[in-house]
Symmetry: C2
Subunit: 359 residues, 2 copies
């Protein structure tokens, strides 16, 4: 990810300012919690979660959308709006980690695991697990509510709010529906390529790339033609980004990605990679996939057998091919885009960084 | 609850209008889901949840707050704001039911149970459970996001939004913190009366009574003195309401309350009732409580032994005494309140209905 930050002009400054907004906001929330005699662990979990990393990709794209639509400078209201997207993303990840039963994220324990440990004293292990899960549901809920508070205290003009709020509404519904499709599709025996693509589109392409760009552009008063061009760029690049993520989730180096390479397989995620493998597999390969995918106790030896099938069936190569084609499609859009030349350059660099990333 | 509805003037009309707003909103969301080829079960769960009942207590209190502050008529923007509180409450209940592992609510299966059943086909029982829980987390998340959408499309003036949004922010944080205290206190061996009262205050008194009144009053431009008088009334009545709820949760008739009378005991909830019993119990009684409270497999015979201790220790009588004292305190506030005479009458009737209710 260092790559993305380094290659976007002003990225380091945007990242720093967004982080400062989030730090200040959570510091105020911590003071309020102390006054109300509420447990400090709630805001501490969020502060630590934001401190240990995260790409700040959505804030960066929000600022890029603003620039693409001709917005000048980086006003504080833009930065606060961008920060609210990061807080929303924090909510998404905390809840996703519960649904995926993930033990670690960004190289540290997930919020529900951390809370289970924190509340272990005087409880049975299952009771502590349940307290951890409940606490993490609530901390996620607070992050969602607080993303909203950050947005409506961002200092936007009434006109800006009027154009941005419907986009925020759409973004939230889209990512929640995408995740809903994802969790209900998991551990299904079918190979539904169209469904797998819909998950990629809603859970990632629209949420991570298209909507942040739209929101930034809307703040700058972008006309429809700019918003449409941003979509034409964002959807293929966002889809490719998710496909890369799927590959990294299975073939990546945990030290670089920050998450174990067994989670997706244990969960039985119906990623495009797995869906294509299920479709292309011969009888023996299909037996391997059906017998091992979605087994919570899957170990490295079993994962290695799955990886062999993902490669031998040609699914891995096909996904790599899709990533290349989608990336090329996104770059072609930039050639005729109505964006400012500076923004076009940023988006070109961003495309390279996103699709080649190793973490 | 029929009592509350019947005794508040215009309550039936408010309830009907709020329900219509929610129906129309979810019908539009259903159409959007169909267009996007998203599963219809998401909005169907919310529609069914809202259709099978619910007191619409917070919307009614929001309208009462408006009237108390001298607001005229019941404009549609007020009704839509009230409806957004009901959507928010739907979010709270869906997530609470997950945290409490409740099987039924309002006499029908909880959302996570229903979804586990819906997604059972082709899955092991534990896998279906997990899909049900994940789906219910997401449907709750959508209800929270949609409560926000209802609010900012309510047609409020910029001035109204400016005074209402901070109250909404506070309400959300308060109830989430209250629930956080509740789940982290559950199954603890200690008897912390002050903590139990803080849970009652944040989870119910402020959330269910004070904030809805404040929000309605703020829409009518209430001065600080009215807001303070509403708090002085709302907190005791809200605390008494929760204490009544705790009694009903253990001693109530499931056919009337719509929820099994074992859930709170199986969960080991540290209600005021249980906390006082732990404090007052002799050695034998304490052994009964420690050995049976929070046992997920608790059956009716064990529950009956707990109930005997709750009665014999004097905890049940003490809670009844607190309810009476708090109710009297709330009624005294009304005697010198700055509210419109009509609103004072409503609040007096509401107090009686809330504290005497059987469900």
């Amino acid at each position: 990810m260092t790559a993305v930050v380094a290659e976007l002009p002003n990225a380091a400054a945007v990242r720093r300012r967004v982080t400062t907004v989030l730090d200040d906001f959570l510091e105020r929330k911590t003071r309020t919690a102390t006054q109300l005699r509420m447990p400090a662990e709630v805001t501490q979990c969020l502060r630590d979660f934001l401190a240990v990393g995260g790409k700040r990709l959505r804030p960066l794209l929000c600022v890029t959308g603003w620039q693409a639509a001709g917005g000048h400078g980086t006003p504080q209201a833009l930065i606060r709006t961008a920060a609210s997207l990061e807080m929303f993303h924090t909510f998404c990840l905390i809840h996703d980690d519960i649904m995926d039963s993930s033990n670690s994220r960004r190289g540290t324990p997930t919020v529900h695991r951390r809370l289970a440990h924190h509340h272990r004293h005087g409880r049975s292990a299952p009771a502590a697990e349940r307290v951890g899960t409940s606490g993490a549901i609530l901390i996620g809920d607070l992050a969602l509510a607080w993303s909203d508070e950050l947005l409506h205290t961002a200092g936007l003009t009434p006109r800006q709010l009027r154009v941005v709020l419907p986009l925020i509404d759409d973004m939230r519904s889209e990512v929640m529906y995408g995740q809903y499709l994802d969790v209900t599709a998991a551990a299904r025996p079918t190979a539904d390529v169209e469904q797998a693509m819909r998950i990629v589109r809603y859970k990632t392409a629209k949420y991570t790339v298209e909507r942040p760009l739209h929101i930034g552009a809307a703040l700058a008063g972008a006309p429809l033609v700019v918003r449409e061009a941003l979509s034409a760029y964002a959807l293929p690049v966002g889809e490719a980004f998710q496909l890369r993520d799927d590959l990294l989730g299975v073939f990546g180096t945990p030290e670089l990605t920050g998450k174990p390479s067994l989670d997706d397989l244990r969960e039985g995620k119906r990623t495009m990679l797995v869906t294509l493998a299920l479709q292309r597999a011969d009888a023996r390969q299909r037996r391997v996939l059906h017998s091992l995918l979605g087994i919570p106790s899957l170990e490295e030896a079993g994962a290695e057998r799955i990886r062999e099938v993902l490669i031998a069936s040609g699914a891995r190569d096909e996904v790599e091919g899709m990533i290349n084609a989608l990336g090329a499609q996104a770059l072609r859009v930039l050639e005729t885009s109505p964006f400012s030349p500076g923004a076009t350059d940023h988006l070109r660099q961003l495309t390279d960084a996103l699709l080649a990333r190793a973490s």
